[in-house]
Symmetry: C2
Subunit: 219 residues, 2 copies
DNA sequence: ACTTAGTATATGCAAATGCATATACTGAAA
DNA sequence: TTTCAGTATATGCATTTGCATATACTAAGT
């Protein structure tokens, strides 16, 4: 239900769906990707359950705008949400999966470099976008640490996006160098199978932690 | 269908579901979280569509193990997958959403610090785990850059996990300092609403890029 | 013999996701 | 005056998730 809470947090002043969608871009969207159909659905659910109240405002352009306004109940929920912890999210990073198994390819080094470079392009585009926004914000008095709270905290999240992507870029560039410096033999010789050594190596480790172990469900 | 491809990439030597699950932990799991039910489902689909062939091996302990073996078709698919680009994945980082809107709380500074510290604990745990695995790998001859290819590329992905999380930690620690240094007035005074300035500021930006815009679907 | 623990493979299901498409209304262009 | 482009809100639907639970078989304890 994360999206619902996020919408509540943005509705401290009444807004319509489209306004929320616009606000998302350039702010929340950098750490919470979603699409407009989900926003409208979430708003409908919030309205249905009484966290917001929708008010139709006839619009001069297009169909009636619906303005959403926080209710008492919504404010309570928002306060509770802010007090709760969250979790650092998992991800599904397909690029890494390919690099992990790149020895399944006939030309591991070439393939790995291709993957790295393609990733690099994507990340740079994202960094450029974030930098553009940060540049807009840098005109604010007190930038960054002494900006008004309602600019400062959003900036922190933007800055996170930048640091995270710059770290990724750094890893990519380091990795490209590492790969280029490896001898051709190292990449092409050896068993091309799954790293059996690694597998053995991990047996000890496995004993200690347990991601998806089948919890005994009777007790 | 990412998981299916990943499983193919691990099946360069035949394995059973449980073996794959074990291998996942400590390697793939750090950048591709999933659970065992999904692995079995994916294996079933791969078998049904002829990418792998399952072979039941009566086991001395428990029910018959099913060994999955790549077919020609599977090998072809794997090769194709490795040649394709991927995308840097989106994420849903609820912590950041809370920090973004922390001014909705009565005590933004206090709340923000709580969130940061709770996040910090999580990240440190993850770093410790990854470091333990890297330490195991560090015994390999040639570590890191001249290890055999089937250790080197997996290590790259592990190292990515470490760098990414260390960057997050760095951001958290920087942010804690920034927040602590802000004057109390800065955090509590000012309008507590949504950052209207930010909203205005983003209007220009919006013109240029377009995340979820409603593409005109006739043309 | 009978329960319990352990291993291995699966199923059920509600919710979330992503993407395409529909509806509805306005103002301007052809 | 019909068509088009734009704005705003929604619906449809197949797929993917996450989590809980089921099934099936073995080996040991008691």
């Amino acid at each position: 239900m994360g999206l619902q809470d996020i919408l509540l947090s943005l509705l401290r002043e009444p807004m319509s769906g489209t306004e929320l969608i616009h606000f998302f871009r350039g702010t929340i969207h950098h750490f919470w990707q979603t699409d407009l159909s989900q926003i409208y659905r979430a708003l409908e659910a919030l309205d249905r359950e009484g966290y917001v109240r929708a008010e139709s405002m006839p619009s001069s352009k297009g169909p009636a705008r619906k303005e959403y306004r926080l209710t008492k109940k919504g404010r309570t929920r928002l306060a509770g949400w802010l007090r709760q912890k969250a979790v650092v999210p998992p991800h599904k990073f397909e690029y890494l999966a390919k690099i992990f198994s790149v020895t399944a390819d006939a030309h591991p080094r070439k393939r790995a470099l291709e993957l790295m470079r393609s990733m690099r392009g994507e990340v740079i585009d994202a960094v450029v976008q974030l930098e553009a926004i940060e540049h807009l914000m840098s005109a604010t008095p007190g930038f960054p640490n002494d900006m008004p709270a309602n600019m400062f905290y959003p900036w922190l999240t933007l800055h996170h996006g930048l640091m995270r992507r710059r770290a990724l870029l750094e890893w990519i560039d380091e990795s490209i160098v590492r790969i280029e410096r490896r001898s051709s033999e190292a990449d092409n010789a050896g068993e091309s199978g799954c790293p059996a050594d690694l597998q053995r190596m991990l047996e000890d480790y496995r004993a200690e932690t347990e991601p998806f172990s089948q919890e005994s469900h009777r007790s």
